[in-house]
Structure formats: C-alpha cells, structure tokens
Amino acid sequence: MITSSETPTRSRQSGGAWGGFADRILRVRELGLVVVLLLICTIVTARAPRFLDGPNLEQVALSATLVCIVALGQALVIIARQIDLSVGAIVAMSAFVTASWLEGRPDGGILTAFLIGCGVGAALGTGNALLVAVARIPAVVATLGTLAIYRGAAIVIARGRQISATVLPESYQEVAQLHIAGVPLLVWLALLLTLFFSWMARYTRLGRNLYALGSSPQSARVAGISETRGIAFVFILSGLLCGFVGVLWGARFGTVDAVIARGLNLEVISAVVVGGVSIFGGSGSVYGAALGAVIFAVLQNGVQLLRINQFWLDAVVGMAILGTVVFYMLLARRVERAEREWRRLATLGRTGLRVAADR
C-alpha cells in the first residue's frame, strides 16, 4: 500500500495556531475600519464633545447615507473588477428628472417619483453596461465618456434651471425629515440596503459569481459564469442605486439642479477603496464600503469641529486614501510572507507533520 493510512500528515485546522492567525488577518480589514472609525470619533469627541450631540450625529449619519448607498453599488462594481466613474452624473440626471416631474404635483406621488428616479438611473446604468459588457470598452474610459455625456445631457435638460423647495411638494421634502424610532428614515433605508446587498453578496449565487468574476475572469469562464451578464448586472445595479439616491438627494437638500453631486465619483471610490475592497476585484465586502462612507462623513464633520482649516480637508482625504491602500498592501505582503515562510518550513520537513487538532 502506498499510504500509511492512519496518519493524516498535514493539518490546517482552523483551531490551530496558523488557522487562527489567518482568520484574524482576514478579518483585519473590516475590524480595522471599525477601529479607525472609533479612533476618529474618540479624537473628535475629546476635542469637541458636541460631536456626540444628537442632531450632529444624526446629520453626519444622513450625510453618510447618500454616499453610502452609491458606494454599495460601486463596491459590487469594483468587486467584479470594473469601475464606474459616471455615478455623480447619474445621480444628477435622475434627481433632476424626478424633481421636474414632481414640480407640478403638490399632492405628491412619491412612489411614482421613486420609480421614475430609479428608472432613469437604471437606464443610464444600462448605457454603461452596454459599453462595458457588450462593446467591451474598458470601464475606466467608457464611464469617463458617459460621465461627460450624462452630465452634459442633464445640463441640457435643465437649461440652467434650479428646482427648489418652493415648488417641490411638501410630502416629498418630508421624506428626508421622517423618523422611525427616532432614527431618520434615510438612515434606515441605507442600513437596510447595506444589509441587503451585504447579504446578497454573501448569500446568493449571483453575489458569489461577482466575486468569482473579479477574482479570476478566466476561471469564471471555465466555471460557466457569464462575464457579460455579471458585468451588465453590476453596472445596471449601480445606476439603479444612483437613481434612488438622486430621488433622496432632492428630498434632503430641497434644491436640485444639473450640477449636483459633482465629484461624487471620487468620493465614492475613495470610500470603497478605504472600505477594503480591492481595486483589482474579487475581494472586500459591501459593508466595508459602507463603513468607508461613514468614515469619510465623520472625517468631514470632524475636520470642521476640530477647527482644522477647511483647506486641509482635501489633503486629509488624499492622505487617507493613500494611507489605507499602502496599509492593505503591507497587510497582503505580510500574509504572503507568513505563508511563504510557513511553506518553507513545511518543505524542510520541520513542521510538515502536524497532528490534527480536533475541531
């Protein structure tokens, strides 16, 4: 017989030292985010205790929600190894279209408004999907192009008009003011969407296929996962969520024009990257991206409260992005090195025989 059957020679039990170490490192991303978030909160609170005031926290949360919802879609896009630079323009377009539909309807029709906004968003997302998934234009440049086109189209449609709280129905504007159990409706919505998409990414085959696509498009092809459908899905979904945010945007700020949400794309991508989603696709989590959005919202509020000059904000954001990507890079290298060292020892036969610990 070939095998000395009674000894399983190699072990990698999760209960073992290595397994625990690996697990810890794998969880470090989201855990680290929570730590960073708490750290920022602590620093801000220490210097400006009013940070914790109810209305302030509520508003910080509300600021985070809009970015957060867009970031959910963007996270899935990036997980599938793509990128969507046109998000801000889609938000503006759907916000404007929705607001102009609502303009003549003082009695509401809020649900229809949401349908319209989401429809516009999904339509524009489909435009991106066609270019990237069907025409196979690299996402960076395709969405750079649609960014210009969508924004331009929004401006043409708006013709310099602003739609303001004065003409928008009260019921629409109240959407942003509604509270359920003391927490604003928008926050609930963002929370629900975050939970839903985190769930979707983790607990549905569709979600897992996106990870598979991002991790290795070649292997995905072998496994029979449709690249075209996956990519189209994420772009349409991203558009849809942008459309949804467009509707909320008008409700929250009360004024809508064609140039709102300018620069939102970089803000969102920063949140996603800082949230631990690898720009190369395949890894990261949706709720990490949501946490990233919260961190940026707290950071912006904190910079104000700490009386740091406003002119420092962009530099701080830039440092935050670079800092986190370097951190993740070092982390990945460290895991790799630990792994290689472990392999070397194993090859030398020193730890090759490790008795399995019981689970």
Partner: protein, 353 residues
C-alpha cells in the same frame, strides 16, 4: 483581418481627415473661423492640455495612468502664486515650480514603481492630496499682477505673427517627445514595457526606474503647463486646472493610444489635440453651449473606443484561430502548423493575408 489591422494602423490618417473635416466644419459655421487670430487663440487656449498630454501619452503607452495631472498643475500654479506674493521674481519662481512638479511626480512614481501600488488608485489619492496642498498654500487668495512679459507666454504672439508663444513651447516639447518616443532607446523601452513588462525586464530594461522617470516627467510637464496656464489666466489660484485630466486622457485615447498600453503614436495624439481644440472652438463660434460641447467630447471618446473595441474583438477572434494573438502564448507545437520553419509555409501564410 489585415484590413482591420491596417485600418487601426492608419488611425493617424483618419484623424487627419477628421481634422480637415473639422476645419471645413468650422469654416462652414462661422466666417470668423478661418482667421489668423481665431486659429491663434484656439491654439493658445488648448496648449496647457496639450503639454500635459505629451507626458500622459508616454505613461499610457506603458500601460499606466496618471489621474492627478490636474491637481499637479494646480499645485504648481499655487507655487507660482505664492512665490509672486513673497516678492520672488517670476524668473526664480518658474524653476521652483518645476521642482515642485517633479517632486509631485516623484511621489506618484515611487508609489507606483517601488511600492507596487496600482497607478489608478495612487493617482486618485494624489488627485485629492495635491489639490489639497494647493489649497493649503494659497487658500482663498487669487494672485495676479504677473509681469507683462510673463503673461505673454499664455496669450501673446511672437512678434507680429499670429503664432502664440505657448504653441512654440508646445511645438518644441512635442518634437522632443515624439523623437524620444519614436526614435530613441528610451521610447523603444516604453513600448516594450507596455507590451510585455516581463520580457522588457528579461531584456535588461530597468522597468522600475523607467516608470519612476515617467511619472517625474509627467510632473514636470504639469509644471510647464502650469506656467503656461497661469500666464494665460494672468492669475494663480488653487482651483486652477481642475478637471484637466479628463481632457488630457480624452485627447490621448482619441489619438489612438491603447488604454492598456503598448501602442499609439505621438503624431496621433498631436492631431487629436488639434481636432479637440478646433471642434471646441468651432462649436463655440457656432454658439453651441458648453454642455453640448461636453456631450460631443464624451461621444467622440466613446465612439473612438468603440472602433478600437471592434478592432480588438476582431483581433481576439483571429487569435482564437491562432492568429494575431496578444500576450498569450500560442501552442504552435501541438496546434497550428508544426512545420512552420519551411519557406513554403511562410509563403502560404503570407498569401492568406
């Protein structure tokens, strides 16, 4: 097959037709288009973008990208402004701003080449960082009162001729970059890196040093653009040139440079720059709104990419039959034509094309 390849290879020729078409269009929509002063001003206004596009071409040829160019221009402009405020003569401020640009590029380059981070992420980060630095040094101030001779760089023309000074700077740089890319060892190395980084390394090309050099060059070009743009605007502010990267990348891609690296020519990019400049100018003369121009620019970008996408598709399709495959080894030993060494089969091969 061959036709599609030729077609793409002749992109420059097609662009030239575009350019002529643009001139015809411009002359059609406005009788003021074809005047020396209009051509002169349309050229001058596009020079900052054009100067940055030169370095961007090299970067994209190697398969990298630099999103932070607009912010570096802003940072260098802020540097010029601060120097002027402090009473430094502009002659001394310009070299200083070149140094600032080089350092900003160095930052990008180190992160990309030596730390090994993806250039897209790095330059998105520095896009915010460098703009932030510009805001920190210049805050709300706008600095003007630049000397007349300096302002001439942006707007002024050479002697009595309609040739703007800035276009002279661009012409010299463009020739320099074109010669570098197409006629020197360094240029060859960039194409090699863009096509096959591994093979470039095995051929003794210092890939990391090359990339670092490129990003520094890009920083310096941004600084030159800042000098021209500040002269053109007669004013230095922290928000100078925000959004410049979009126009630059559009021009480079329109010029036929493959966004994945490895191919493209400087001639194509230069023609594309002029196409964009005169399309915008003629639309402006026709009274078309800026947003319509924006849509047109985006549309041109998408259309260009679709052409390239179609070409790439055809090429990939050909690769499935063992022809024109990119980057993937062909299994010629087990597939294809095992007796390819002979004269005969090559003739047959050529005949099929």
């Amino acid at each position: 097959m061959k036709r599609v390849r030729e077609y793409v290879a002749r992109w420059e020729a097609l662009l030239l037709v575009f350019l002529i078409g643009t001139f015809v269009f411009g002359a059609g929509v406005s009788r003021y288009f074809w005047t020396a002063s209009n051509i002169s001003i349309a050229t001058a206004s596009f020079m900052p973008v054009a100067i940055v596009a030169l370095a961007m071409t090299l970067i994209i040829v190697t398969g990298e990208i630099d999103i932070s160019v607009g912010s570096i221009v802003g940072l260098c402009a802020a540097c010029l402004g601060v120097c002027l405020e402090r009473g430094l003569p502009i002659g001394a401020a310009m070299p200083l701003s070149l140094v600032v640009g080089a350092l900003a590029g160095l930052g990008n380059g180190v992160m990309v080449a030596y730390v090994g981070l993806p250039s897209l992420v790095v330059t998105i980060g520095t896009l915010a960082l460098y703009r932030g630095l510009a805001q920190i040094v210049l805050r709300e101030r706008g600095v003007s009162d630049f000397p007349e001779w300096y302002q001439n760089i942006g707007f002024g023309t050479i002697g009595g001729s309609p040739v703007p000074w800035s276009s002279l700077i661009f012409a010299v740089l463009a020739i320099g970059f074109a010669v570098f890319l197409h006629a020197t060892r360094g240029g060859r190395a960039l194409y090699a890196i863009g096509n096959n980084r591994e093979a470039a390394r095995f051929s003794g090309i210092a890939v990391k040093r090359g990339l670092l050099g490129l990003f520094v060059t890009s920083g310096v070009m941004c600084s030159v653009a800042a000098i021209v743009l500040t002269a053109y605007l007669a004013s230095a502010r922290s928000d100078t040139a925000s959004g410049l990267e979009l126009q630059v990348i559009t021009a480079v891609v329109l010029g036929g440079v493959d966004i994945f690296g490895g191919s493209g020519t400087m001639v194509g990019v230069v023609i594309a720059l002029f196409v964009l400049a005169f399309v915008q100018n003629s639309l402006g003369l026709a009274g078309v709104t800026p947003e319509a121009q924006q849509i047109a620019t985006g549309g041109v970008l998408i259309a260009t990419l679709s052409v390239f996408g179609a070409a790439r598709f055809v090429r990939a399709h050909g690769a499935a039959r063992g022809r024109f495959r990119r980057r993937r080894p062909r299994a010629l030993a087990t597939g294809g034509r095992p007796s390819g060494g002979g004269e005969e089969s090559v003739k047959a091969h050529a005949g099929r094309e």
